[in-house]
């Protein structure tokens, strides 16, 4: 069911009944939102409905949207259904490439951040080898149990963000200073800042 119809070549159903052109019996339409000036409840009140143009013969069929609460009031019934003839192509996934130098810096910062968390007894020792083995998914679950993981690959950067947010949450370091370094100095700064605090 759809909230509103898209103005594109499509088949339309109203309360489960297919919209059929009454003149030529074709079922493919171009539905437009059209505005009508209505009398009530005042001047300049506009009523929006649909004018669907049959793609074969051009005849217009006008209808509104009868969606509304079910008779017993416990449900809401969406009345309109639309199937596009040419559904849009799914958008290609965004692939972010990280150069080697940045990746190394990310991993080195991540190791340091984890070391700090282990040192303070917030996480288990076992996480440390995961960085080298690039088991980012397992790492992510350890850092934030119950986090939703989509099928895409998890970048080291995401783990680093989580590790740093744990450090901030437990107030292990000067949070203001850490924020400043992340914002203005990025990796080299984070690395030396973290290193200073590791025993």
């Amino acid at each position: 069911m759809v909230d509103e119809l898209i103005c594109d070549e499509s088949r339309v159903w109203i309360l489960g009944q297919p919209l059929i052109c009454r003149f030529c019996a074709n079922d493919v339409f171009l539905p437009y939102h059209t505005y009508k000036n209505v009398e009530k409840p005042g001047i300049d009140v506009f009523f929006v409905d649909y004018t669907a143009i049959c793609l074969k013969c051009g005849c217009a069929t006008q209808f509104g949207d009868p969606s509304g609460p079910s008779p017993d009031g416990t449900d809401y019934i969406w009345a309109l259904e639309q199937v596009l003839l040419n559904p849009p192509e799914p958008e290609p996934p965004i692939i972010r490439t990280v150069d080697d130098k940045t990746l190394r810096a990310q991993k080195s910062c991540l190791s340091l951040a984890l070391l700090l968390l282990v040192q303070e007894g917030i996480i288990e020792n076992a996480v440390l080898p995961l960085v080298e083995e690039e088991q980012n998914e397992n790492l992510l679950h350890l850092l934030e149990p119950g986090v939703y993981v989509s099928s895409e690959e998890i970048p080291a950067e995401k783990c680093l963000v989580l590790a740093l947010s744990q450090i901030v949450k437990h107030r292990l370091l000067d949070n203001d200073k850490l924020h400043f370094i992340i914002e203005y100095e990025s990796y080299p700064g984070i690395e030396s800042f973290l290193r200073k605090h590791i025993e």
């Binding site: 939102h33 505005y35 009508k36 300049d44």
Partner: protein, 81 residues
């Protein structure tokens, strides 16, 4: 803008148009413009349609004119009265 006065019999894709209510076959014609955006907007987009009103009962049917080369989907046959 197309201006037609008089009474017409209408064929769409070669098929005779009949009134959906009284089965009448003679129509008055006007070109009409439906607003596709709030009518307060000055440069609003509009949908141009041919309005065919039954001569007998005035039930109105709307048709979009489509042109394919020299052929159009709507053919008007003027009725001499």
């Amino acid at each position: 803008m197309v201006r037609r006065r008089g009474i017409y019999e209408v064929e769409i894709l070669g098929k005779r148009l009949c009134c959906t209510l009284c089965d009448g076959k003679m129509f008055h014609h006007r070109e009409i413009y439906l607003d596709l955006e709030l009518p307060k907007k000055i440069d609003r987009e509009q949908l141009t349609l041919q309005s065919l009103m039954c001569k007998v009962c005035s039930t109105t049917q709307l048709v979009q004119e489509k042109t394919d080369g020299t052929k159009t989907n709507i053919v008007y046959i003027e009725v001499k009265t």
